[in-house]
């Protein structure tokens, strides 16, 4: 069991991509406190390691769980390519909130409209990628009986709500939130608002608490969504959705965060053993100039992206704690550490790919079926 008190140099602390304290102060994101974590039935590693550091309105979900009331967990993926390890964090968070209560229902949007507006990806191309993405989600362990997946471009209710929300929003307002963008980008933001409020439509049982697990870079969407939920409360009964924010993974190359623009910056669930090996072997570490120096001074796991992969993706607390201690003590050399991680990840990915193949047909069926849950 990991101590929930976060210290500066414990195994659960790494160099940050963003200044998370600043985000909390400036944007009014609430801190994830011990009290909050203790009131949840159980924690996954993102929660217990404080990778999830902030939230808005998570107490609403805690209450729903305690009172055995229905709630939704909602997030999605932009189908521009393979399922990367950032999408994996979001997916595992959805699964976690689905598992917290038998009354939880999961919603997963394949954001093909966003992929079109932002990346010019034709909807036709996104169609097949969507099947692959949903197969990954299923293989990661989501319960398909309490799951609604859809492509934005085919979910009439979401398409419609985007137009509803557009009324009265000025360019100045949207430019202040998202910067100077073309109209399609603003509509892509509004369709995400629609995604998040979809679980509250009558077809899905009406207004309910909804938790949206996302990277903290998505907070502007959440704020806009909460504003619009209030604006349309009278007509639709929407209650403002809740959110949990996880930290962003740093690029394997050591600068910035993982980005789809640079394939060497991230891992995907489709990467074969050789590619995983290459990417991790080339990854930036917190190691010293020489093995000799490392043995003397110890490594710097807190700035090491390889250690960050351990922290985000290896579930065994005692093992990860040991990696940290050995590194700090100079007893772990980067080459060995990388080989060990490569083996663990490739084992996981091999099993994942087997599961995924078995889920491909179900993924297609879920996407093609227009049946509500």
């Amino acid at each position: 069991m990991v101590n929930l008190e976060r210290k500066i140099l414990d195994p659960w602390s790494v160099e940050e991509v963003e200044d998370y304290d600043r985000l909390i102060e400036v944007f009014g994101i609430e801190r994830v406190t011990d009290e909050l974590l203790k009131s949840l039935p159980f924690l996954n590693r993102y929660m217990r390691r404080r990778i999830v550091f902030g939230h808005r309105g998570l107490w609403e979900i805690v209450k729903a769980i305690k009172e055995n009331r229905p709630y939704a967990v909602m997030s999605g993926i932009k189908p521009t390519g393979e399922f990367h390890f950032g999408s994996k964090v979001t997916a595992e968070q959805i699964i976690y909130f689905q598992q917290l209560s038998p009354k939880a229902v999961a919603f997963y949007a394949v954001a093909d409209i966003e992929a079109w507006e932002d990346n010019g990806l034709p909807l036709k191309v996104a169609r097949e990628i969507a099947v692959d993405n949903v197969a990954d989600l299923l293989a990661l362990g989501i319960d398909p009986k309490r799951l609604y997946v859809y492509r934005q471009s085919e979910e009439e209710r979401v398409l419609r709500l985007g137009y509803v929300f557009a009324r009265g929003l000025t360019y100045n307002l949207l430019e202040a939130i998202y910067g100077e963008k073309h109209i399609g980008m603003y509509m892509s933001a509004l369709i995400q608002v629609a995604d998040i409020l979809l679980p509250q439509l009558p077809d899905f049982g009406g207004p309910k608490p909804t938790i949206v697990p996302v990277g903290v870079d998505q907070d502007p969407h959440i704020r806009l969504t909460r504003d619009l939920a209030r604006k349309y409360n009278k007509e639709y009964g929407f209650v403002p959705p809740s959110s949990v924010y996880h930290k962003l993974q740093r690029s394997l190359t050591g600068s910035g965060k993982m980005s789809k623009r640079d394939p060497m910056s991230y891992l995907t669930l489709n990467d074969g053993p050789k590619l995983i090996e290459t990417k991790i072997k080339r990854a930036f570490t917190g190691g010293r100039e020489t093995a000799e120096l490392q043995r003397r001074l110890g490594g710097r796991p807190e700035t090491c992206v390889v250690y960050q992969l351990w922290l985000f993706h290896i579930d065994d607390d005692s093992k990860v704690g040991k990696v940290f201690e050995e590194c700090k003590a100079g007893k772990r050399i980067c080459g060995e550490c990388k080989l060990e991680l490569i083996e663990l990840l490739n084992n996981f990915l091999e099993r994942h790919r087997e599961r995924k193949e078995r889920f491909r047909e179900l993924a297609r069926e879920l996407l093609e079926s227009k049946k509500d849950i």
Copy 2:
């Protein structure tokens, strides 16, 4: 038979709401020529009286008719209230182009998204008005076997295409066309583009000539649509739609054009006999100060909105020609002229309402059925 040569003071000329010659010069609208009219199988009164004064690409439709190829005729109505005499002109133009060829298919959009964006009319309220509007269209004589009607908010393909077209369009571009508006208004313009291109989707048999009969104030939509049809020609095969422009009816109060903002400015298909009488009795005329003066100098039908009602809505050429001549010669006094028109219009409206009641159920069925034609 009316002489197609338009003279300054023939019965088919009235004081204009817009400077139509300027529109033709500045925006490159093409003139409706004798040659064009002669190449059509037959003319309705809007065509033979040059109320339809301009077009873009009408020759494409003439060719399709000659070669017995399919084409679409597309327009719509904003369901903010009753069917007024401006919507009647558009509807009768749709019916005309449907009748020109057995290969013509009509599309009629109930623009409930536009009514929301522009007027804040909730979609739920627009639902019932839509049934009423479509019953009017049917009663006016459209062939329901070659008709596809829909509410924008329920036509997934149209909702989706609006998002497709939004990509890459800047605020500056849309502001230049439509002025400074909120994002919803721009999306309402893009969904109208989607309406117009809907007949060219594979579900409706793919790319084909399409004629859009509209008031000339809608030309900015047509130009944007023709540009976007070209932009997406490669992916969707769209060909630029054609359009015909009819003149706008002046307000019964004498200033400006008929406007939904002022109920006394226009007639509707739902107006009862008493209301028709009141509105026409109060209408602005081209009469002189006294009956005596009128007998001596003659009336001014070319500036008379009552005469304009004769011109737009009474089909009998010899009768309308007679009204004009008698007025000019001082043989027709405004009071009598109004009474005669009131009787004709109320007879028409009485028959129309009977027909309409018989079509109400069909209207509902057509709107509820998602079946493509």
